[in-house]
Symmetry: D3
Subunit: 132 residues, 6 copies
């Protein structure tokens, strides 16, 4: 029996002190690492083959993220070629006491299949909905 | 502007080697820590006040979780008293190459508010839906 | 030459900032992970075979644990069946400047042998002393 | 007495198992986090004020990085405006047994000063040498 | 109520994959870090004041430590001056399946009090029992 | 094509909160672990064979290291025998806002080759310059 894939955030976690920079907010590198994992999940679900990150673009930090916030990385496959995919990732930070949610980071990740996924050969031009 | 809370997993992440035990599967303690964070999120969203974990019960491991799997912890507030809540947490592991999803762990967490949340006083008997 | 097993704490460590929650005290999940490792050690020593955690119950947090405190998890095998063991774990926190020690967490862990340990077959009803 | 800033890599470390993905090579997010720290160092040295990462572009992974490799992130301030800087970062991986070194990742990071650094006001058009 | 200090290891933990070097055995630096924490605990208990590590000597690695082993660091205050202490630390590794225990590392740590502990002034020549 | 080894620090990183002790400065054990990795790099580059740390001596802490500082570990092979090397490591901490740099820790590490490196047999008495 296989449980259905839930709609909702691809990756989510509470910000803990071990992810902070010396200013006491979420370290930018930790945020990008979170986005990279979310892109990996969305691309893996889309292709059901092993994928790796080939690059990233357009990463923009809008707001610092505080310890104790919930961070959610939402990843959506936007374009899909024969062996590669473009995944848009948006990070939402939620203040768990006030409920305020706002976009904190966004960016685009390029994922490449490490093996030829046969089912892709017939669907390369099909536009994809979100995998996640 | 505040983005809406998404339905879906409360906490989710990919299993990386730094969370494995010496057998090469997800360390049980790491799984429980994930559940604890999910319970914290669900209870915080329910009460919008600061909460702490007072205890846990009925933790059951059904399947080992492999590196590269996605783990999702889904937390639902099941009962709510004047200053405390009971949160049920279920961990789903998804093999990202096959898409197979199965329940890996479940348990119940007891969360307590550290300050008196005024809005609770009038709603203590209201049955709650899922906070997450 | 084999050194004797020392009496004393099964697992012990100083609380460092990377184990704190956003409130600045030891993250509950980190405390449970410590207990899980202590239960693993006690059960492994008892059975001298590979064991895994099948579940946990009755976890109760009595006091928050501060950074710089020493935390000791003491694990004792309380009951032993043919292939499983029940391990009681108590966590003591010691303020290293004042010497004050107090119980911070307690709980019970269920450990299962992953292989049939032959020596168990003849000793299943023997009451156990502490393995640690 | 103040030791001179050494020429050479801005950030460097040996790749350890806790930074690997489930494929056993350096996790892409860990590589980007390394680059982010290198950009922070180069921009801090250039401006001698507190800086934060506002974004990143053109991140390209050329080769996987193996455990036991040395990774060096070299960051150079390429352009400097009134309150912002563009930092180019190149990651070199060195196989410590063969001595082979090759470029593994590159990217551009945008750093912003969080306070007005007075000395910048008179030097904004000065072409910059590398800060690192 | 204050629980008595247990005899036994000062610091103890199971070796997990996040502490391994690329050879798959416990990273030497992780072992020394464990010893440093054990020396801190022993010196803190001896002086009941805040102490810091001023140096270390005679660190010798005798055997590699495998993942899944229990490592115990036993720290004993050997000499105590007006504001400083010398702490001998021995690390024992225990194979939890065979029960074999052997000395893996030893070394000496020099600890210094950061504040003048009044009770020391009258007891500097008093021979010390082990603090741990 | 192989990029040249850069002169400069062997290992370098920014100090983040997850490496602090409870006093809020770099944990001594983390500093020693950094030095151990630097010694490993210098000895590996010297011998181009696999090396392990056999011991350490003369570790001296001169100044505490603050979060946000850059730490650089510079390792130089000082003596080289048939199968072993002595590596001197100096840690410099740089305050990135003021540019002040000062020596924070120093020590000597003893590294041993785990396999016989043939090229060593003819050069055992040759004094070595810095490998890093």
């Amino acid at each position: 029996m296989s449980a259905p894939v839930a709609a909702g955030p691809t990756i989510a976690d509470v910000v803990f002190p071990d992810q902070l920079n010396h200013r006491g907010t979420l370290f930018g590198g930790a945020a990008i690492a979170l986005m990279d994992r979310a892109a990996f999940v969305a691309a893996s679900r889309e292709a059901r083959t092993d994928v790796v990150c080939a690059g990233a673009d357009g990463i923009e930090f809008a707001h610092p993220i505080e310890p104790g916030d919930l961070v959610e990385a939402n990843a959506v496959v936007e374009r899909r070629g024969r062996r590669s995919m473009t995944v848009a990732v948006v990070v939402i930070a939620e203040n768990l006491r006030t409920g305020e949610r706002r976009e904190a980071v966004r960016g685009t990740f390029h994922m490449v299949a490490t093996e030829a996924p046969p089912q892709w050969l017939t669907t390369t031009e099909a536009p994809q909905g979100a995998a996640a």
